[in-house]
Amino acid sequence: MSVISYKMLQKANMADIVNRWMKDYDVIAPVKYGMAMEFRHIDDPKRIYLSDGNSIKTPKEFFFPQNDELFEVRDGEVQAPISAKPTILLGVKSCDVTSFPVMDKVFINEHYVDPYYKVRRYNTIVIGYACNKPDDGGFCTTLGISPAHNEQCDMFWHDIGDAYLIDVVTQNGSDLADGLPDASQEDIEAAYNAREAIEAMMPPEFDLADLPDEKTFFEAPFWNEVYQRCIGCGTCTYACSTCHCFEFYDERTKGSVKRYRNWDSCMYALFTEHASGHNPRPTQKERVRQRFMHKFCYYPINFGVVSCVGCGRCVRQCPTNVDIRRIIKQACDYGREVATSVE
């Protein structure tokens, strides 16, 4: 993506600049807790923890919270205040940065606009952060995403030792970077050499062009096997950067009813069970097939992009080692096999 300018930020100066931003913005960034890291609202910039590796939970929750109050009914009136504070989301890896425009296609489209998602998304400045080494299970490059590209964000940071090299991508990013010194040609090259190095470490694992068409994919024999180790826990869907399914939940307190939407999971039997007891996806086979076909077949048909950004969270967190890469590779192999047999 074209860049407005390249700036330098000494690591020692990061807390100062974030403090400055915090006057006008909520800042959300990764913090370390125990062995892991997660995105949190920052009150002390010194807690910001930028590193290789990614958060257990995805930053999508700041646009699409796991529990989201939609409205309150009080005295018989439905009240649904919708607002969001100007926010900076800092330290988002390329995969997760790419997940936001993928999610936008569901929540902000020509059918219906989700006002809750939209107000948060449009009030948030996204600052991306490059991976310098691949995360276990990550396969972004296979999906055409570089672990160090600056697309779809306002600013993109590369760790180059004592400093961050900053790609300033949008006007919002430029405003935030105001006052920072320009980067030297040497530092820009260092960042881009690092990008090439990590891309070289992650050669594509399969080619999506080999995937079979919808019906062939749906009826493929491998679905009879790949689901067998799935225990239907739903971890993959909660950990996923692009899963967007939800269910409503009403909570009644004295004088008030609140309706929430909570993340739901296609891995669960009740997800599709009718009140009659009929279930169009009666076993784990249909549910596993739904998850992978939704991401790699239905979503591309409906929205032109795959609904997976290769972050690898489902690979790392699945308790029974169901591996999305292996399944999609199997689908690609099957697609080629069918295509060859037709010829």
Binding site: I82, C243, F246, I301
Partner: protein, 278 residues
């Protein structure tokens, strides 16, 4: 509804009809006047009905837009939301979001004979279209009409209060079947897909519209196809668990199509192209 598709508008229940006469009286029809009068819908569309504090569920609009000033939902008691709705009394309030989804292709039906095949509560969505095409203003746009309604037993029959009115309508036959013989029943006995081929129905210039439980839709569609109906002349409307109605909550899809926005009305030609997962 306009700016926030998740926020229901309020409606007042003004009339409740007990439909079934089974031991559990499990189907009732609710007539509702909406607070926001601007609720434009077409036959085939659905709405999400809220019982605040219990939850929300999707129901077809069984009334026709020609019935102005109110909407009707026929609701079978099956889960917690429908249980709560069944406990409502006249004057009580519900929440309504919608209308959602596509609708029956009325323009494509013009000048044609119409065959309605309903199984049980599947008559509810068809009734919206039946009342539309039989409305004085629209009746002349369509040719002969057959309504074939099948129920488990006479006690399970719905909209019996409409039958006399329907029978008065010009060039319209109403036929009934129940699953097993009953004393005093002189109508047909058996499943609709078994009975249909012997009912003297010609597929020529005819559109069939069917709804019922998924198994019934599949068997009736097959019977109609065997009788010579083309796949694009067989129309059905599907039921799914649909939380949002907006194509976002992610559960009602059949392949890449979402029943809430691409349906609930589909032709058999469309369903034949889709994965068999309904």
């Amino acid at each position: 509804m306009l700016n926030n598709p998740f926020a229901p508008i309020k409606g007042t229940v003004v009339d409740i009809k007990q439909e079934t006469k089974t031991d559990n009286n499990d189907i009732k029809t609710f007539k509702v006047i909406l607070e926001d009068g601007d609720f434009d819908y077409r036959p085939g569309q659905f709405a999400e009905v809220s019982m605040f504090g219990v939850g929300e569920a999707p129901f077809c609009l069984t009334s026709s837009p020609t019935q102005r000033g109110y909407v009707e939902f026929s609701i079978k008691r099956a889960g917690s939301v429908t249980q709560a709705i069944h406990s409502l009394k006249e004057g009580d309030t519900i929440g309504v979001r919608g209308p959602f989804g596509n609708y029956f292709p009325i323009e494509a039906m013009e000048g044609k004979k119409l065959l309605f095949v309903a199984g049980g509560i599947g008559l509810a969505p068809l009734r919206s279209l039946i009342n539309y095409v039989t409305d004085e203003e629209h009746r002349s746009r369509f040719s002969h009409i057959t309504i074939f309604s099948a129920a488990r037993s006479t006690a399970d029959m719905t909209f019996t209060w409409e039958y006399d009115r329907w029978k008065q309508i010009n060039d319209l036959d109403v036929k009934f079947a129940i699953d097993r013989p009953e004393t005093g029943w002189d109508g047909m006995v058996g499943f609709p897909h078994v009975l249909l081929p012997d009912m003297g129905i010609s597929p020529d210039n005819t559109i069939a519209v069917t709804c019922g439980p998924p198994i019934m839709i599949k068997s009736v569609s097959k019977a109609l196809t065997d009788m010579g109906f083309a796949p694009d002349s067989i129309i059905t409307t599907l039921e799914m668990r649909m939380t949002c109605g907006l194509g976002k909550c992610g559960r009602c899809n059949i392949g890449h199509r979402y029943v809430c926005i691409d349906g609930p009305v589909f032709t058999m030609a469309q369903l034949n192209e889709m994965p068999d997962e309904y």
